[in-house]
Symmetry: C2
Subunit: 141 residues, 2 copies
DNA sequence: TTCGATACTAACCCAAAGGAGAGTGTATTT
DNA sequence: AAATACACTCTCCTTTGGGTTAGTATCGAA
């Protein structure tokens, strides 16, 4: 896609979003954050911590489901860096590490909650759409 | 417990859990949906269509930003299959294809709106957290 | 006759995501 | 003495994401 010239203007928001002025620099920033956060594992971990409160590493892994240790560690680190979770190490043997949401993380969890609800409400619509789409493709519309 | 022949197995990581009395099939489904829509390009396209209404392919690409035709096509097809967007082909030359959100898509857009607002509100907190985290790592806490 | 416009698809390639499995450190338990 | 527990880290490997370039079809304009 040709993006050699990107004029910073010509965004006419239908007034439906926040009343903030459309600053392209800010928009790029927000876009970057969305890009980082709109991630499967981040969302799943967020959801799990929101539902169960403070959890230890292994415990969290089991509750999230089919996540590998590698991805759990990596995603947790990113979330810690972004200030979404706290990581509390108890210097004991065997190791004990507690993960919990920060206020920021809880805020995102609350925001994302509506998406989760949407998915629960409309999964059957999506299934139907997929079936219809597959049929359309198969039949050679 | 047979330990004479047992190789050093440390984890059985693939075990399924059931924390909540939720139908596991439904949970897997919702999880799958979240996994599919919690995607950078899907969110960005959704946002763009929500803000601008009906758009043509190239137009949409420009407004979304740095997206390649390949990803635009691919994401759009997935969204069409999931029933989030409609694809209307006008059989003219040169080709003319209109993309617009469905009710389902608009619903998801509305749900995701709060996440977008959260990102706008807290991007500076995230920046600060990242800086603090980097400093913590660099200084060897 | 050649060009340009549009919305793609196909082929190629590289980088990142992500899974599997083994290794680490040490105090307590067997 | 050996196993165990926990929270990792490291290496190896496959899959997916995603960019780039080229090509296609067709009509009207130059």
């Amino acid at each position: 896609m040709d993006q050699s010239v990107t004029p910073p203007i010509l965004y006419e928001w239908a007034g439906r979003k926040s009343a903030k002025p459309v600053d392209p620099a800010l928009e790029a920033l927000v876009r970057d954050i969305i890009g980082k956060i709109a991630d499967k594992w981040t969302m799943l971990i967020l959801e799990t911590l929101e539902a169960h409160g403070t959890l230890r590493f292994t415990e969290l892994g089991h509750k999230v489901g089919d996540i590998s240790q590698k991805m759990l560690t990596k995603t947790l680190r990113q979330m810690e860096a972004d200030g979404l979770v706290t990581r509390k190490v108890h210097p004991v043997v065997p190791p004990h590490v507690d993960y919990a949401l920060t206020d920021l993380g809880r805020g995102l969890g609350a925001a994302f909650c509506s998406v989760w609800t949407w998915a629960e409400t409309h999964y059957d619509d999506i299934e139907k759409s997929r079936a219809a789409f597959a049929a359309r493709q198969g039949a050679g519309e």
